[in-house]
Symmetry: D2
Subunit: 141 residues, 4 copies
């Protein structure tokens, strides 16, 4: 199922996120992506916290990041997050980072798998989430 | 109960742990202290992982760090950890960091409280841990 | 010089900041304190980024944190930061964390030393900062 | 230029690296990859620290990670790092993570670009590095 839903968050590079190159360390982007997709779900009325409380985990199975321009300490940047597709058990988000000059600094993609917290096996995406997302489905031609 | 047991570990500053001052970021020391006390317990035959699997958590309730000299990227340093005291429910560790020139770079202290994982209330330190540590008790005068 | 200036920021616990106890890991608080004091300076019209660009670093020399109650994933909390004192070369901030139930979860204090970026020696606090802060000086009796 | 040089390091999952799923948080792997490639270079007699001191930075431009099995707190794991190719300005490393049961838990790849620290423009890989790596070149057919 192809989806089109996007959301934007704004973050500022913390001092703890810089490295001695003077850039935001490349390893911190994964945490930014996490914040971005949690806020994207929240804007759809879906709480990731409640998904976990319901016994379902959503670990990342695939991460891809392209770093085009550095982000620096104290710099504000925005992440445009797009929920792009659903399969039976997985969901894929794409991300584009913009700096204050509106330049693309980073692009990324993550795939997550709905996972039973006890068995750690993949599970079908809960119906209430499917129903919420169906409103944003892209009709196939 | 005053204890005297000490242990040493050696670590190297990772690039991810630097900041744009070119030093090891002050916030990463808490994680170093964690590694240092876990290895100290391991050298006593006490597995922190098994304590948790037994339903007891060991959160830090107090942290004090004095930063005397910076640590830099790729620098090797050692942490001398001393288990210094036990009360009914708490344990205190003191730490001294040395760089390769054998200078003291950092001193620190943490207090942790044995906590029931379900109720989140303090619990008495398990007897097997008390028994292990009694061997290192400092006789009162 | 005793100062009274306080400022509040609000943060949310990121997933990356949890640990397997289900709490915000104790080591991440140092980064929260950094954000809190940078925003406190910003609200005074003082940019920490510009201080560094002017050749002065502001490393932390002393950190003290008392953890009273845990913070959990996705929890909103606020940090009340107080700039409490200045000496010739150092500045001290005190912090109190509140959860959504308005309970104090954490208290902390940090001392930072104005440091020449080249020599790494302490330097006197720049006059423009002193002048800004003098407006908040507490008169001695 | 296709290269074949590999190296192995062993790490243990720190408590600070767990998340509330009880797994090693997906964002920390980037830091593990950094340690793995720095040690790979070190085993070739190449110090990343000295490259930076020589005015060349080596930022990551592309990161890809596939998470196949989780790593848990206190778990020992090894990373097999392979330096696989060089272009005029870039170097690519591939990584495979193994747990204690010798299962592949994670695969990853990073591309880094040799960058002038002042201009932040790509630069040709220094000759001494090329010369060192040429010993491991795979002859084209």
């Amino acid at each position: 199922m192809q989806i089109s839903f996007s959301q934007e968050i704004q973050l500022r590079v913390r001092y703890s996120e810089t490295d001695q190159m003077g850039f935001c360390y490349y390893g911190h982007y994964a945490s930014f992506l996490e914040s971005a997709r949690v806020e994207t779900l929240r804007s759809l009325g879906i709480s990731y916290r409640k998904i976990e409380e319901g016994g379902i985990l959503l670990p990342v199975t695939s991460l891809q990041i392209d770093y085009k321009k550095p982000l620096r300490y104290d710099e504000l940047f925005s992440i445009h997050t797009k929920l792009v597709s659903l399969s039976a058990c997985t969901v894929t988000f794409d991300y584009v980072f913009y700096n204050q000059a509106n330049e693309i600094t980073t692009t990324a993609s993550t795939t997550l798998v709905f996972t039973d917290a006890k068995s750690l096996r993949p599970v079908r995406i809960p119906n209430n989430i499917i129903d919420t997302l169906r409103a944003y489905e892209i009709a196939e031609k």
